[in-house]
Symmetry: C2
Subunit: 316 residues, 2 copies
């Protein structure tokens, strides 16, 4: 059995910042680290990751057993296979390299998956056995947590729902396809749709401020055009969400990742899910906004390390 | 470690037949049982299940360690929560009752999930770590096998994709919704669509023989109307399938369950999946027709018992 004081360190590699924290057995972040990311070389990054661990670690019984690292890219096993925002990580066995430096286990996980695990453990997914975390940010990601474990798939692509096609005749997407979920529900999609919807209509929206947060604020203040954009987003998310509920018997859907994860969108998504799924499956599922904000990836990364070492039997 | 001879018994409760078999460690069914189902009472069914186990069991080292039972309904834990075709099982702790009779563990699983596990273990899913088995029968079901284990969800509804809405303005469904996958890709949907498509067109289809098997046969012989029905089915299956690939990083999709699981439909589905998913996720996934026929549920049920007792570490 684990001594009660055992703790784990979570690190989050952002596109320009490295965050870290030591997480105790109750799921509290007890020490923190945050610095601009040393992204010039693998060596400088490894040095910084090692320094971050040293900065947040405890002593004696409070020394962390293992380290988890949330990565903004695709992770398979202990290797980063692809990291568009930080190409120096491409095809790098970062987990093994870091583990060698630290002399203790270092585990990798995709950042959306780490956030999903954090929500399932300590946030809006608490109590769920089959949790989908949908990350609405510049792009659209998702993470699945089943019985307290991330399902990242054999190649780490699980949760990559942004390029599922939801409109066969939709607008072209950067991936080469058209009508991908991200072309509608991603940040660029919000702005494009708002610009089109504004044509000749009265609205409080400012044509040169059509970022998603502004659209959400206008919708919450009752602007009709902005409310249509939110409703349209919910419809686009509805198809993959309904499929996920039917496939996975989800008992919790958590919406997070950015300002578009708002009560209006959540309510509209619940209506979509009710219309599109078997009533009994819908009845087993509850829908919530994320409860964790910037600490989610650090918390989740620490939990990844904990689960890899000792399993998820303590997940409730 | 297990002795090499250890075997497990699988039983399949069909709507009017009980099938059983003892399955050896290599996944071969070495003895078989098949009788009309004793469906008049719980007592008669338990007696028959017990008799079936006795009929197929081995002796000494070859006696089965445990028994798995495939059920045509929703299973949660060791209880049948709903069984439309055999209502006497509704809300019955059949696993515990049977285990008490047999003096050894008895585990339940939904029949589509059992078939999915059989395909992943010994059929067209062999070698896959993230396998979706789609059962195309009167209704549409599915089973997910992740790393050699069935994911049935907290309430046993995982894989219940038949009532995911794929056409928001589609035809009414028996479930109260409209445009459910089953209204298009289920047996009744094939017949309804073929009848409508025939109006005023030349076709080899016989208006009074529009069952799915006849439509598939005509499509394979080149009939244009029948080929359109197949293509339409693939489009309906495309949306939930694309969502499943994106969500679960599937590396294998297996199509089975009935005559509509044919090469023409598989080929059309591959095209749908390619158009609707991230190229890298699509590239990781292969698509096959099921290799197991009537023995799948028996084989899968035996494997359910094996995995419940000793885990899935031997899954490749």
């Amino acid at each position: 059995m684990l001594p009660p004081a055992s703790s784990y360190i979570g690190l989050e590699v952002g596109s320009d910042v490295l965050r870290g924290g030591r997480v105790n057995a109750s799921g509290r972040i007890v020490t923190r680290y945050e610095q601009p990311l040393a992204r010039t070389s693998v060596e400088s990054l490894l040095n910084q990751l090692t320094a971050a661990v040293k900065a947040v670690d405890g002593t004696g019984d409070e020394a962390a057993r293992a380290v988890g690292v949330a990565i903004p890219g695709i992770v398979a096993g202990n290797r980063v296979t692809m990291c568009a925002n930080l190409p120096l990580l491409d095809d790098l066995a970062l987990g093994d390299l870091l583990s060698g430096r630290l002399g203790r286990p270092a585990l990798l996980e995709n950042d959306a998956n780490a956030a999903a695990l954090a929500e399932a453990w300590q946030g809006a997914g608490r109590g769920g056995r089959s949790v989908l975390f949908v990350s609405l940010c510049t792009g659209i990601g998702a993470g699945i947590v089943a019985d307290g474990r991330v399902w990242s798939g054999p190649n780490g692509y699980a949760g990559e729902v942004g390029h599922v096609q939801v409109e066969t005749k939709g607008v072209p997407c950067a991936c080469g396809s058209r009508g991908c979920l991200e072309t509608i529900a991603g940040a660029v999609g919000w702005t494009r749709r708002a610009r089109a919807a504004l044509a000749g209509r009265a609205s409080t929206l400012q044509p040169d401020h059509l970022e998603p947060a502004a659209i959400v604020a206008a919708a919450e203040a009752g602007d009709e055009v902005a409310r249509e954009i939110v409703a349209e987003t919910a419809r686009a998310l509805g198809a993959p969400l309904a499929a996920a509920i039917g496939l996975l018997n989800l008992d919790r859907v958590v919406l997070g990742g950015g300002p578009t994860a708002c009560p209006l969108l959540l309510d509209a998504l619940v209506v979509e899910a009710r219309q599109r799924t078997l009533p009994r499956a819908f009845a087993e599922c509850s829908f919530r906004l994320s409860e964790l904000t910037e600490g989610a990836c650090v918390l989740g990364a620490a939990r990844v390390a904990r689960v890899a070492m000792f399993g998820a039997a303590d997940h409730r």
